[in-house]
Subunit: 332 residues, 3 copies
């Protein structure tokens, strides 16, 4: 716990308000509670600011008039936020063996596991060799964890979950703020990972923890091998993701989606329930329910070279033929 | 070993035949032997069924007339199959140290390895720290296994093989059956992985075991890092796969194929001997010998936006210009 | 150390010169020093050969006239080079515990780590469970290494670096020479990996060592999860690479580049400082500073089928409409 005065010092902010106020956490502007610090980096979220219960807000000078609570005024809000996250990050503090405070209700736990403080493991679980489970992780019943898995602090895992070898859960998200000199400052991710019931996770797949909220894997999700699930992603119930898929930060997939292998889903995309994406597609739009595809079909290399040449000239061809977009009948 | 009566109970099937018959395994309909149970989910495989030596078949009512052996009648054959696989799955049962029954004929084995029952390791092998090798794995001579590798049950590895750090071999395939409620039921994969001689496998690559048959990596194959090889894939001799390639289930690649980095090969594709695929391509067709490519060449973002806009209008443009496909001279 | 006579024997070469000369290393033709052996596989590098300080050169007969130093004449230079690399490769020789010669100046080192000869670890470092660090690795101050990381021989890591779980550093590059029979011969990679200061590396990412030179990750680089960095790649300062990116061998990225998730950068590409590549793009050209994109935008599957059909016919359409490329106004 830090006072607002401490925090102003950490991020070199001008403090307008009560320096002795104790701040017990960080939160997104839309969800912030009393006692918490939030930030507002864009004037379009002004309303959040006015309506919030934040005990303090990091903001730029021009938004000060809209702030009815304690303010920390800085030049670069996102950078200040990135820096302050590190003060609220819980460090891993256990390196060897199974901590005495861990409550393990299963027998099939490899001796070579490293299990941290206050970890809870339910009944009928198996934990394979050389798996590390950090402090505060909760694991339900009938969970199989293969060897060489790493589950970082405060992850919650439900019942009937299979976690394959080499999986990493609750790694840091890829959020970084730039300073004036062009250097990156990593955000310490304070959210967790919530994994529901009846879930399978394939080998060497990685699931990042959330920034302030939690990354969520809902009941019945199936993940194949070498899948990347970024920070704050939500995967709806019974969604299946094939191998090699990369899902960007804050993407939200509905229930019963099916994503083919090798696809890329851009950050912040929303996919409706029952959306199907063919493998190797790039999801660069929000998608309503339906079956979507987006890749270049394979052809002989010599043909491909010609079609790519013409593809890059399509705009010129249209000009040459005097075709205007408005000439074309509307339609998908 | 279960009786057919047991199995009918497990999957809630109507049994037509001999309940006391002992079933010793599952098999694909085209390869089934006496004593085994198979399934037929599609009437186009009727002939397999008629000609098979199966001791019993899971099928739907409408195919019952074509069945000359014991039958287990269900509504959803694939789901019943998925459920029954779990009864035939051998569990990993060794978590700590090197099992007494393991035959290890090499000295350079890290103390921190976990090696299961009846594992055989040949001469001149090195096994790095924290590697886990499950029961029934056979490893030839001159095999180097780096740290943190996981090789699951009953894998066979030949001579002169290099397995890089973080590799997972014989993980579960990604095969799942849907029930009426839209929930997935994972198939327990009963096939193994066969790895030949003179093979290199790059770091953090994953090779899934087969469903009922084996996944096969033939002699001389080179796999780079972070490659995904799905269940039942066959890689022909001297085929080279660069980093980040995703190969879908049951794809078959011939000899001396070369697949560039980041490519995706869809499930069930067949690539002839000596097929070359440029990196980042999507293989969505069977391929004869040749050099193939399929991706969008990079351009300035502003140009890309225009070409994509016209690309999506090509059909409209053709209509506008009154171009019919039949007008165009045939050709690739 | 081998004599030139030894080496001629290893690769079955005709030796023209001093068989007793001692050779202390291999080098690229452009950087070779006295005492070293190099190779020249292409006559366009003749000038390198003439100007070099090489003590000996592997070459084909037709280049012999251009060689003023000791020569090893072979039919297949690249294959001979691949074979000889193995004689200069330092093997990992430590499998258990922390070697007595390691200098570790930090306390938070898990007991389950394996740390080789002459490793140096600076102040304020944390090394998680089951991490392996091979001989000759140097690690600076304030470095956090999560569990299950593998750092292979002679890697150099600066200060303030975070290496996430499952990362593999200094794995073998994917360089292979073909023999007459169509079999691959892996090159033993003799270069190292140099990692600067203030760097983050995401979970299950892999960085290969260089062939003869070093793979370089400059100060301030951020790498997300499941990234592949091939041999000899250079990532300029403050470059950020999102998840699932595959970077081919010898690609060089400038400073402050940003590469979106799931992109593929082909081998040998050069990207200027401040180049931005949208996620899921394929970089198949050298790029000047700018924002680039290259993928097929997603659409309904039915539309995609039509647009792909027309795309493959673009050349025919142009012929049909009698459009010549020269008709089209020049432009990007």
């Amino acid at each position: 716990m830090y006072t607002l005065g401490d925090i102003a010092g950490f991020i070199d902010a001008e403090l307008i308000g009560d320096a002795s106020l104790e701040i017990n956490g960080l939160s997104a502007s839309s969800k912030v509670k009393k006692g918490q610090l939030t930030y507002i980096s864009n004037s379009k979220y002004k309303l959040d600011l006015l309506n919030s219960n934040a005990s303090a807000v990091i903001l730029t000078k021009d938004l000060l008039d809209d702030c009815s609570t304690n303010a920390l005024v800085v030049d670069n809000v996102y950078l200040a936020f990135a820096k302050i996250t590190h003060y609220f990050k819980q460090q891993s503090n256990h390196l060897n063996g199974i901590h005495l405070s861990a409550q393990i209700n299963s027998k099939n736990i490899a001796d070579s596991c490293t299990i941290g403080e206050e970890v809870i493991v339910g009944k009928n679980c198996t934990i394979g060799a050389n798996t590390t489970i950090e402090q505060g992780v909760t694991i339900g019943d009938n969970v199989t964890i293969q060897p060489n898995v790493v589950i970082l602090q405060n992850t919650t895992i439900g019942n009937n979950v299979v976690i394959s070898a080499g999986v990493v859960i609750a790694s840091e998200g890829f959020g970084n703020a730039l300073d004036k000199q062009g250097h990156w400052h990593a955000i310490a991710h304070l959210g967790n990972v919530l994994i529901g019931n009846n879930i399978t996770i394939g080998a060497n797949t990685v699931i990042d923890r959330g920034t302030l909220e939690d990354t969520q894997i809902h009941n019945g999700v199936c993940l194949d091998n070498l899948v990347h699930i970024a920070h704050n992603v939500i995967l709806g119930a019974d969604t299946a993701i094939a191998a090699g898929v990369t899902i960007g930060g804050s993407a939200i997939l509905g229930k019963r989606c099916q994503i083919g292998g090798g696809s890329v889903i851009a950050s912040h995309m929303h996919l409706a329930d029952d959306t199907v994406v063919t493998g190797s597609s790039t999801v660069d739009k929000h998608l309503n329910k339906g079956h979507y595809t987006g890749f270049t079909s394979i052809s002989l290399h010599s043909n491909w070279k010609r079609t790519q040449m013409w593809l890059l000239k399509l705009d010129k061809i249209a000009q040459y033929l005097n075709i205007k977009l408005k000439n074309l009948k509307k339609g998908k």
